[in-house]
Amino acid sequence: MKPSDSAVPNATAGRPRVLAAVLCIGVSLVAVLATTRFCYRPDPVDSPWTDGVAPTARAIVQGQTAALATATDPDGATARMRRSNPEWDFMGRTFLVMALGEVALRDAASAPANFRVVDRIVRDTLEVESTKGPRAFLMAYAKGRPYRVQPARSLFVDGELAMMLGVECRVARAAGATNDPAALAAAAGLRARVAQIEESLAKAGDGFAESYPDECWIFDHAFALAALRLADRELGSDHDALSRRWLARAKVALREPATGLPYSAFTIEGRPSEGPEGSSVWLAAHLFGAVDPAFARELYSKSKLHLARGFLGFAWSREWPPSLRTREDIDSGVVVPGVDASPSASGLVMIAAASFGDRAFLSELRTSLEFAGFPIRDGNGLRYAASNGVGDAVLLYALVVGPMWREIAAPEGKP
């Protein structure tokens, strides 16, 4: 090294030297920022548009099913997740089941094994519901006051359980196991759950169905409508008129005027309690795609306008539109300061981007994930340190969504 480093600086040399150093670091920083994305950008083959199952998806499936194989929750991950939010345990099951359904249709050889795993998850979920009650999957404030509509039902629980049961029926067909006792039980369970959703929506009348006491969510209604659509495919029922009526009402009553996005939460009468949130609207856009594709695409476009952000090949989602920002909560997760990136919204947006064929956006979202999600690859597959079980299941679903979803959303053609 040059003797420069040993030279004692003098007053005249110090300032130019510092300015030169700052300039050099600045130029270098710009170059690093501009090229970092290339280190984290996913392989184009590793996407939901690949034939078969993307390698990353396979690795996550391995990690998720390995966790299921140990019923004792040895590292306490599920228990920690439940302590933070019992909903995450439930939603993690739902997204994993939906992902396994997609995997079964992408890789026919995996269908029998996936059918068994899906059945195990569904049976365990139903058992928890029957022994501990549906509120076992809800946050504590569900017990704080009574539901306005009695007997109390949560559309959150009923909608996602109907989805799980519907997927089990579909996977059973893919596995050639429709006469399996588990498949027959799933079909019966789906019928009962659909009847329950019909009853909840009917009791709501011109209003909306509760997930928590006097708290209704666009997320849960979207799940319920998509589950009804799946049930129509699997059971031969027809809920098109019901869905159309609900959507017509919601498009008017739940529209936030400044953005055109739907409110996330509202009372039975439709009075808003939470504004548009990325953690709700992205998934709602995906799920509404099963019942009203034009409305879903419009919702996706508006959400992208108000919530999607990007920089130098990285992309993420805000939880709230800039004009409607509010305080962080359990749904937003820890919002990254400066860029307003919400972990939950940035995860769920991947499902929407995948299902609407937004390849460039999904690639940028995944670049951000690989950069800031801290993937851990080991003998148990792949998981993300900055995520949790439900986050990994969401990502898995985003990577495999395709054949089953297209079938559900198809305008015609009952099985």
Binding site: C24, V32, I330, A386
Partner: protein, 109 residues
């Protein structure tokens, strides 16, 4: 071996290389420290503590040590990924700068 005294600033104390950062070697040392710090927290298994990001920010929830380790990991990892290459690149540019633009009182060229 790094002779810290050779990097000492006007006051000549042993830790003064930290004040004399605007040299190629000073930048390389800082990049190396960031990389070493990142490696250390990784070896300590603190990567797992990034799970604090997926936990609730609700008031009163004691994330305590998990959050501390997670933030330490995040800072050092991002430092190693973004800042260390920038410092190394800056050091290279500064070295070239010193070669082509010698300045009075600075014999680096």
């Amino acid at each position: 071996m790094i002779d810290f005294r050779r990097h000492a600033g006007p006051r000549g104390r042993w830790f003064l290389p930290w004040t004399r950062w605007a040299t190629p070697r000073g930048l390389v040392i800082r990049a190396a420290l960031l990389l070493a710090g990142s490696l250390a927290v990784r070896l300590l298994g603190w990567r797992e503590a990034m799970s604090f990001l997926s936990m609730t920010p609700a008031p009163g929830l004691a994330l305590g040590g998990t959050m501390f380790r997670g933030v330490a990991y995040l800072v050092l990892h991002m430092g190693a990924v973004i800042l260390a290459p920038s410092l190394l690149g800056g050091a290279a540019l500064l070295w070239i700068w010193n070669r082509v633009r010698p300045r009075a009182g600075d014999s680096s060229a």
